[in-house]
């Protein structure tokens, strides 16, 4: 079998420039949080408790590159929703800096912030947040309406978006007449209407039932394939994160405990907490040939070649069918070999390679 080359959707992209970054962002709830943080720049959990403050986001640092799907993952109460609201400045962080295209959002005036939200940001919400008094068309056109775009233009644009998410024919329905999946399609169309560069999705599929969720994830990947937005996506579902992410940040108790590709999280979990999360992940779909290969020295005969970034799930049928190992080849270089045993170990689900 020759080179099973199928570039996976999450194939490493050329590292784009940094679109959104946050540095030492804190969000504490409670009285006089700001002063407390100025006086104790790095408080411990005990100090916070003693001051009567509840930490929602603790010293968050992250960078999102242009065109990347960056997923923030954590259980409920881990602070992921608060963090994304800090990034969009829906919530004012207690301390830190947030750079959008190199400019600190937290230093912007109300007016500038409104301009950025009107033209460069879009957001999809967990419970859809559709306006009950407007039709699908009215909802999708709403962000353009508040900008003062005239009716004909904004409705034309809104119709394009409605077609993009496959809801043509439903534009005069009210939100309550649509199913959950359809409502979220409206939410997605609406968030894309202004052609944002940065797209926030706050648990967009969590309120949907599993089958619809899967369908919507595919839809999301389809759209991203066409639109190439920079995406910050919140979820509590590791399977979803693995399916969609370029990189994942895992949060626990307000702290980002690890940032990495799905494979990195599985291969080198930074804490037992991360390991716990990744334990049940579909490893065959995440791990690549590079991760499980053995040294190729001394192997005489190869059954064929595979790319180092090929997923186990993709190469498994071929490798298992042949007694001889496969060569892992990048360009002209031989990196290593993958044999039956290595693939079987992943399939059977040994915890550590």
């Amino acid at each position: 079998m020759d080179r099973p080359v199928s570039p996976s959707p999450t194939e490493a992209k050329p590292a784009g420039e940094i679109k959104l970054a946050c540095r030492h962002v804190w969000k504490l709830f409670g009285p006089r949080a700001e002063r407390f943080l100025r006086e104790n720049p790095r408080p411990s959990a005990e100090e916070l408790r003693a001051a009567g403050l509840i930490p929602a986001v603790v010293d968050a640092d992250l960078e999102v590159r242009t065109g990347e799907i960056f997923i923030i993952m954590g259980l409920s109460g881990s602070g992921k929703s608060t963090l994304v609201r800090c990034l969009s400045r829906l919530i004012e962080p207690t301390a830190g800096q947030i750079f959008f295209e190199g400019r600190d959002l937290l230093r912007m005036r109300e007016r500038e912030m409104i301009e950025i939200r009107r033209h460069k940001m879009g957001m999809v919400f967990q419970h859809f947040a559709l306006l009950p008094h407007l039709t699908v068309l009215g909802n999708v056109a709403f962000p353009l309406e508040v900008q003062g775009v005239d009716r004909a233009t904004r409705e034309r644009r809104a119709m394009e978006m409605i077609e993009l998410v496959g809801l043509q024919g439903r534009e005069n329905y009210f939100p309550r007449e649509l199913s959950g999946g359809q409502q979220q399609r409206v939410g997605i169309a609406r968030s894309l209407a202004v052609g944002p560069e940065l797209w926030f999705l706050d648990e967009p599929f969590s309120a949907l039932d599993p089958l619809i969720r899967r369908e919507m994830q595919n839809e999301f990947l389809r759209l991203q394939g066409m639109l190439e937005k920079t995406i910050v996506f919140i979820t509590h579902d590791f399977d979803e994160a693995v399916r969609l992410a370029d990189r994942i940040a895992i949060m626990q108790d307000g702290r980002i405990v690890q940032i990495g590709t799905p494979e990195e999280l599985i291969l080198a979990p930074a804490t037992p907490y991360v390991a716990e999360f990744t334990a049940d992940a579909p490893r065959v779909k995440i791990l690549t040939a590079r991760a499980i290969m053995i040294p190729a020295d001394g192997i005489g005969e190869f059954a064929g070649e595979v790319l180092p970034q090929a997923r186990i799930a993709e190469i498994a049928p071929a490798v298992l069918a042949d007694a001889r190992p496969f060569a892992v080849v990048e360009g002209d270089r031989l990196l290593g070999a993958v044999d039956r045993e290595a693939v079987l170990r992943v399939l059977v689900g040994g915890r550590r390679q």
Binding site: R85, S88, L90, I114, E115, R117, R118, H119, M121, G122, M123, F125, Q126, H127, F128, A129, L131, P132, H133, L134, T135, F142, P143, E145, V146, Q147, N172, Y173, F174, E177, F200
Partner: protein, 669 residues
């Protein structure tokens, strides 16, 4: 969850409180039975020289305000009268349109320009509007209501009332909306607003009629201003609540879409809370109608005046017909506004534009109105409903009352006398024998038990206000009448509510009845009561019970119905008989809700009690009413505030008790 668990702490707590209750009852009985002279006089009635003459200060201040206060070149009175003059414009316009027709010139030189909009056109318009908002059934009901007004000769009075409602409601709604928005945006403003609303909703209307009379004069405009003030507070509360209830995500979406603050409010928050806001609009309409009769005391005219006048003449038939006319108007407007509120919910994209297109409806109605005004001068039968076709049932009602009084006088009288002698008088004596320091101490102790030091201080403060301003004795009479009425209402309402909670069919029937009862203006309750029992405390008490019984039924039924079904199932599977299920599961869990219902009943009872002053009670309500006839601002306001104080003591104590209980049952939200 263990179903038996909630019941246990309740029992424990009652037992722990037993010594407290025994002591309280014992001491009260002691004071009631103590020989005359044992309790010092000052403890029964505060000596005059210790009283704070707040009423006199208020009257003096009002006097100063009206005669001397000024803003720059204008006196305060000129400013208020100017305001009244402005408000008169829309009102006169509405009246010309619906009642008198337009005239050129003034006084005796006035020359009629046109007839008013014909009764036929008004009925047709109302019918079309109803058809559009709620379909054929609503149209039939509304046309029926308006036809009643014409048929029974109430048309012109009803149109006077309708025109002031039509002007007062928009002012009340917009004012309430704006105040509510202000409170929503600024927590500081809200902290200021809430206590004012509390007072506004508990002070009897009579109390502020006098200042309004001083500031705005006697007449329809002053009456309308009083109506607006009375009807606005619920709109403020509804607005605050509705805006708060908009899901956080929707507000966040608005901000992410780049809304300015103004856009966020008017394009996102207000429209998203429209169904809830419409409930407020409905409240404003109903309260405005409730004010109709009271407003006629300061010159509103219309149906209210008719009722008041016939009540004073004890002309039962006439009063009943005018009262029913108000009710009929209330029902029509209530159903119309409810239909408008739920229409948005029901409207589907494919239902099109309803039965009648809005644009066509409006132009059609406008043309019709104009035509009827022009033709009206030629055809009098169109301008005014011809008298020859009017009917009146007044003589029959009068005959019925006469018949009852001739044939059942002895029975009714015996019933009344029995209750007066064996219930009313003993309770009144018992309460009047309680020295105020003891009652205040008891209230404080209750506050301490239910809600802590803060509540105790609040309650003591309200009680001492009543003591110090010198209205203690009158207040105790109010407490006696109100208390008895509430106890009777609870004895009727709680069992009925429980029955309704258990039977869907009964509930649907009772719900229909109490919905209708609650649309009746409070005055209307006086009419049949006076017919049967003439005047006095007994008649007043019966009227109060009738007026105030609805909430306790409603809340009890709701409480019983909204118990989580799995708790009932748990009770059933652990082998409860249906009796045990009721007393050990349903009732303990419904108790907080029942208490809320009783609280509402107390509030309604107090507001009704003031109105029963017209049938000769001797309580705070009477003080307020006398103040109105004497135009004594201070007395009216202070007596009114004393009623409010009683209301707020009850409200705070019951509120604290309910919260306490809900927390213990794990029902707190």
């Amino acid at each position: 969850m263990n179903t038996a668990a909630p019941a246990v702490p309740t029992g424990l707590r009652l037992r722990a409180g037993l010594p407290f209750w025994l002591a309280a009852i014992g001491l009260s009985l002691f004071f009631a039975l103590a020989p005359r002279g044992l309790v010092p006089r000052w403890a029964l009635r505060l000596p005059r020289d210790l009283e704070i003459p707040l009423d006199r200060y208020l009257s003096q201040w009002m006097d100063w305000l009206v005669t001397r206060a000024s803003f720059g070149p204008f006196t305060f009175k000129e400013v208020t009268r100017g305001f009244a003059w402005l408000m008169d414009w829309p009102l006169s316009l509405a009246k010309s349109l619906l009642v008198s027709g337009f005239v050129l010139g003034q006084g005796s030189a006035a020359e009629p320009l046109s007839a008013p909009v014909s009764w036929a056109a008004v009925i047709l318009f109302a019918g079309l509007l109803a058809a559009r908002l709620g379909g054929a059934r609503l149209a039939l009901l509304v046309v029926g209501c308006f036809a009643y007004l014409a048929l029974f000769g109430q048309w012109s009075s009803a149109m006077v009332t309708l025109s002031s409602i039509l002007i007062a409601v928009p002012f009340g709604v917009v004012g309430g909306l704006l105040l509510g928005i202000g409170g929503f945006r600024s927590p500081r403003f809200e902290r200021l607003l809430i206590p004012i609303l509390d007072v506004m909703q508990t002070v009897p209307v009579f109390a502020y009629l006098v200042p309004i009379l001083f500031l705005f004069g006697f007449g329809p405009v002053a009456a309308m201003i009083a109506t607006i003030i009375y009807a606005m507070p619920p709109m403020v509360r509804v607005t605050l609540l509705a805006l708060r209830r908009v899901p956080a995500e929707i507000a966040e979406f608005g901000r992410m879409a780049g809304c300015t603050r103004r856009q966020l409010l008017w394009k996102v928050l207000v429209p998203a809370s429209r169904p809830a806001l419409m409930v407020g609009v409905n409240q404003v309409i109903m309260l405005s109608l409730n004010m109709v009769i009271i407003a006629s005391m300061i010159g509103a005219g219309g149906l209210g005046y008719d009722v008041l006048a016939s009540l004073r003449r004890l002309d039962i038939g006439e009063g009943l017909e005018a009262g029913v006319a108000i009710t009929v108007l209330a029902i029509a407007l209530d159903r119309l506004s409810q239909a408008a509120a739920t229409r948005g919910e029901r409207l589907r994209h494919d239902m099109g534009r309803g039965i009648v297109d809005r644009g066509r409806l409006l132009t059609g109605a406008g043309l019709l109105a104009l035509a009827s005004m022009a033709i009206g001068r030629e055809i009098p039968a169109l301008a005014a409903y011809p008298e020859a076709f009017e009917v009146s049932t007044a003589p029959y009602w009068a005959a019925l009352v006469k018949w009852i009084n001739v044939n059942f006088f002895d029975q009714l009288e015996a019933f009344k006398t029995f209750l007066v002698l064996n219930l009313l008088v003993p309770v009144k004596r018992f309460l009047l024998a309680q020295p105020w320091p003891w009652v205040v101490a008891l209230l404080a102790a209750l506050g301490l038990r239910l809600g802590g030091v803060r509540l105790a201080l609040t309650v003591t403060g309200f009680a001492m206000f009543v003591v110090l301003t010198g209205f203690w004795t009158k207040a105790m009479i109010t407490v006696y009448l109100c208390g008895l009425a509430v106890v009777i209402a609870a004895l009727i309402g709680i069992p009925l509510g429980i029955a309704c909670g258990l039977s869907e069919r009964l509930w649907r029937f009772v719900q229909g009845v109490i919905d209708t009862l609650q649309t009746l203006p409070s005055f209307v309750y006086l009419i049949p009561v006076v017919m049967l029992f003439r005047v006095g405390d007994f008649a007043a008490m019966i009227a109060v019970v009738l007026y105030a019984v609805a909430p306790v039924i409603r809340y009890t039924a709701h409480g019983v119905r909204s118990i989580p079904p799995q708790l009932v199932e748990a009770g059933t599977t652990s082998g409860c008989t249906s009796r045990q299920l009721l007393f050990k599961v349903r009732l303990p869990l419904a108790l907080p809700e029942i208490l809320l219902g009783i609280n509402q009943t107390i509030m309604l009872a107090l507001s009704m009690l003031v109105i029963t002053a017209l049938v000769g009670t001797r309580d705070l309500g009477q003080e307020v009413y006398i103040a109105l006839t004497k135009a004594d601002v201070g007395q009216g306001l202070v007596a009114g505030l004393s009623v409010a104080a009683i209301a707020m003591i009850a409200d705070r104590l019951i509120g604290a008790g309910t919260t306490h209980m809900k927390q213990r049952l794990g029902l707190a939200t």
